[in-house]
């Protein structure tokens, strides 16, 4: 007994070190696991409020830039509106503003954005109080940003598309060729579209858009252009490098998308497997 106590006293520093290290490592491993809820995250009350104060301060430094972006987006939206009103001339158009629209859009601010790690997350300033739930898609004026991971009352954490765990449905514009969009962890400006069949027509410069199979994102949202492509798996599949339209290192205003039909679609999709 005496020896055990002596041992404990002699190695108390080492034992404390090992104990705390195990805690730290378990937090780290959890943080790399996409499906598990982590204890250490940036949507808590204190952390969230400090981060939003910080965003408030840094806002003043790029008002100019943001104004330009907003006015460009306004111009684009106006063009689309004109196009719609042109094609809908004389038709019933109140459906555009009813409650039962297929996609609801929530504007949000980015408070925290990472892009140099292999698993990056974004924190935004709206949460379950505003109706945000996990697995909603997040887009910005120039492209896609990520998928909501978890939300507290006022803040939400978004899995960035620059995260090795994420895999999104995407397709080549103008064809029905689909693939899964992944990030290999190196360059924040490119992603890769994998599992594209060899017979698909892949041309450099073609546009990549979100696919119709995705329940997270609306279809036809622009993602990027094809930079180059290579054949993998003994030449049976293409791996396409996609240059993103949006700059993931410079995000500020984003939109969270809620899909009305998501639950219904998922029920249909999983039907056959339960029989």
């Amino acid at each position: 007994m005496q020896q055990i106590i002596n041992f404990l006293i002699k190695y108390r520093n080492l034992l404390l070190y090992l104990f705390l290290m195990v805690i730290a490592l378990s937090f780290t491993i959890q943080s790399h696991d996409y499906h598990r809820n982590t204890a250490i995250h940036s949507t808590g009350y204190l952390t969230g409020n400090v981060l939003s104060t910080k965003t408030g301060i840094y806002d003043y430094f790029d008002l100019d830039d943001q104004n330009k972006k907003l006015s460009t987006e306004n111009a684009m939206l106006r063009m689309k509106l004109l196009e719609i009103s042109d094609t809908l001339l004389g038709e019933e158009s109140t459906f555009l503003f009813t409650d039962n629209i297929p996609y609801k859009v929530f504007p949000a601010r980015v408070m925290k954005n990472d892009f140099y790690k292999s698993d990056n997350f974004i924190t935004i300033d709206i949460g379950s109080d505003q109706g945000i739930e996990s697995d909603m898609g997040v887009i910005c004026p120039t492209g896609i940003v990520g998928v909501v991971d978890r939300s507290s009352d006022q803040f939400s954490r978004v899995i960035s598309i620059l995260n090795s765990q994420i895999s999104l449905n995407a397709q080549i514009k103008g064809t029905a060729t689909i693939g899964s969009l992944k990030w290999d962890g190196n360059n924040p400006y490119t992603m890769s579209l994998e599992d594209v069949p060899r017979l698909a027509k892949v041309n450099k410069g073609d546009t990549i858009i979100t696919g119709k199979q995705s329940t997270t994102f609306p279809p036809d949202i622009l993602i990027g252009v094809i930079k180059d492509a290579e054949l993998t798996e003994n030449g049976s599949r293409y791996k396409i490098n996609v240059e993103l339209f949006n700059d993931m290192t410079n995000l500020d205003y984003v939109n969270v998308i809620k899909n009305r039909d998501k639950a219904a679609l998922q029920v249909i999709d999983t039907l056959g497997t339960n029989e």
């Binding site: 780290t28 250490i40 808590g44 910080k54 292999s118 190196n186």
Partner: protein
């Protein structure tokens, strides 16, 4: 409250705020954010109570982890740095540093720099290994350690030079 304790509390809060509000925003070349907050661990008073020192370092790390969504990477790196600091002190100031009632901030700048370099390498290597967490990306981890480490040492030595008390001649 004595002045050493007050000094350390101020240093803890000050460096934390500085790190979150200013240094994490630098993004030099897109990914270089110096981690100057480890100056707190480097400059922590020398005494025999390593238990409280390790707890404080761990707490500092966990706090930063919550802000950066890094799980426990900061905590692990800070904890290890606190654990091995006596070894570095022995290396830099000699075997008898415990007898001399050493005040780290008052020591010559060359010794201070050597201590910082050793600490920064240890801390950054552990931190980035845990953040990247992928053995196939060892080269990327080393590249991050080196480039961010150099930035940290530059900014940290700037701080040391500014805040170092003048030696009475």
């Amino acid at each position: 409250m004595n002045s050493t304790l007050l000094n350390n509390v101020l240093r803890f809060v000050g460096l934390l705020i500085l790190q979150i509000f200013l240094l994490d925003q630098i993004n030099f070349l897109g990914y270089i954010n110096p981690m100057v907050y480890i100056l707190f661990i480097i400059l922590y008073p020398v005494d025999n109570n390593r238990w409280s020192f390790m707890f404080i370092a761990f707490a500092l790390g966990i706090l930063l982890d919550t802000f950066q969504n890094t799980g426990g990477a900061h905590a692990a790196a800070c904890l290890t740095l606190a654990f091995v600091r006596p070894v570095f002190l022995k290396l830099v100031y000699g075997e008898s540093y415990l007898m001399k009632n050493l005040k780290i901030i008052r020591t010559p700048i060359d010794r201070l720099l050597l201590l910082s370099v050793l600490s920064v390498i240890t801390h950054h290597l552990i931190f980035f290994s845990l953040v990247i967490f992928n053995t196939s990306q060892i080269l990327y981890t080393l590249k991050l350690t080196l480039s961010v480490g150099i930035a940290t040492i530059l900014i940290a030595s700037l701080f040391l030079i500014i805040f170092k008390p003048k030696v009475k001649s």
